[in-house]
């Protein structure tokens, strides 16, 4: 890949974004992963040492757990009580519309006429 894979095209990466990204990968795959697994998963955009140090930071923050394996560790995302709070928050969000202005959701409404457009977009990009 590129010579400097951990630099984004604009040479900036918001602080903490790397940790978010790797934590999201661990949660999305839903199985324990070694730094090498993670690196493969994200298409080698990051150097091995970057992945390893980021996972170590996540471990120190208690956001992932790890087990020794071979010469290194294998990582699993940690479930904590914050999960329940977040769940409660989601429920509050569905009940109270005035919260919608404070909490900013990724996707909101989808009018029927837009459904076809989105489906075409995904088919066009991902189709054979």
């Amino acid at each position: 890949m590129n010579a400097t894979p951990e630099e984004s095209p604009h040479g900036r990466r918001p602080p903490g974004m790397l940790e978010d990204e790797l934590l999201a990968v661990l949660w999305a795959t839903g199985r324990p992963m070694t730094p090498a697994d993670v690196q493969v998963h994200i298409g080698h955009r990051l150097a091995y040492t970057t992945v390893m140090s980021t996972l170590t930071r996540l471990y120190r923050k208690g956001l992932v757990t790890r087990e020794p394996t071979g010469r290194g560790y294998i990582y699993t995302p940690a479930v904590n009580e914050a999960d329940h709070t977040a769940q409660a928050m989601t429920e509050l969000l569905s009940r109270r519309t005035d919260r919608a202005g404070v909490l900013t959701r990724f996707v909101s409404s989808l009018p029927p006429e837009d459904e076809a457009l989105l489906q075409r977009l995904l088919r066009g990009e991902d189709g054979p």
Partner: protein, 280 residues
């Protein structure tokens, strides 16, 4: 915090009940000014308090979300949102595993960049301001939805810039929206349908596919011109009323000798009617 936030509600209620009675007892000049000032203050404080109360609830919940910037809920439902906080991180991003598993690796970066943009640019403040303006001027009832849509577009553009791929950003939005839409079709108690006016995903996807937004100096100039015209017309209307009133007075004072008692009475009446109309 809790007590202060409820105070405007109480004061507004008190003002509504006691206002007319107080008006009878106060000296008219002081009474008029005092009552209007209090009412205007209350209207604004009421809207602010409602908003602050919501923010307060959300922040109280957010404090229990832990120290991580990203909080993952282990739930199949498709959900992602940002929660503003006052600590150095500026907020938390809450995403369900359902959402994380729907998106590809690259698309997840779009989602993270989008929610991070909301927190970094403090978009909840812009939205709060729009809500308060709409409360002060009910004609601007559509403003909050417009600002809502614009802040979503802003975060979309930020995400497209961070990943350097507009198509990828559009695809992430499309996939998340379709999955969330599909989920809502299934009857499940946990996922209530929420609609936010025109902040539709379709428009956001179209905007991303249309390419980098162009600068629109003509529209900016038009808005500025309209604003100037509105301010000038307000000033002009004030001057106009004053002039008409002066003319009426001049007319009345110009012929004081030849006027009969009946005509004088009539002129008095007309001036009073005119003044009354101008003031309302």
């Amino acid at each position: 915090m809790r007590v202060i936030v409820y105070l405007p509600f109480v004061v507004s209620a008190l003002l509504a009940i006691a206002g007319p009675r107080l008006a009878h007892r106060m000296p008219p000049k002081t009474g008029t000014r005092l009552l209007l000032t209090a009412a205007l203050g209350c209207a604004l404080a009421f809207a602010t308090a409602r908003r602050l109360r919501t923010l307060h609830h959300v922040r109280r919940e957010a404090r229990r979300l832990g120290d991580g910037h990203l909080v993952v809920i282990d739930e199949p439902q498709i959900e992602a949102f940002a929660v503003p906080t006052r600590d150095e991180q500026g907020g938390r991003i809450v995403i369900s595993t359902g959402m994380l598993r729907t998106l590809t690796d690259d698309e997840r970066r779009v989602l993270l960049a989008h929610e991070t943009a909301h927190l970094n640019h403090r978009h909840h403040r812009h939205r709060t301001l729009a809500t308060l303006i709409a409360a002060a001027n009910p004609i601007l009832v559509t403003l909050p939805a417009a600002v809502h849509h614009l802040t979503e577009r802003w975060a979309d553009e930020d995400a497209a810039a961070t990943t350097d791929d507009r198509h990828l950003a559009a695809r992430a939005l499309a996939r998340a929206a379709l999955a969330a839409h599909e989920e809502k079709r299934r009857p499940s108690p946990g996922s209530a349908v929420l609609c936010f006016g025109k902040a539709g995903v379709g428009n956001r996807v179209r905007a991303l596919l249309a390419g980098t937004p162009r600068r629109r100096p003509a529209i900016a100039a038009l808005l500025l011109a309209l604003l100037t015209a509105a301010l000038l017309s307000t000033a002009e209307a004030g001057r106009d009323s004053a002039q008409q009133l002066d003319q009426a007075r001049d007319h009345y004072h110009a012929r004081p000798i030849a006027i009969s008692a009946a005509a004088l009475h009539e002129a008095h009446h007309l001036t009073a009617v005119l003044e009354h109309r101008l003031h309302h």
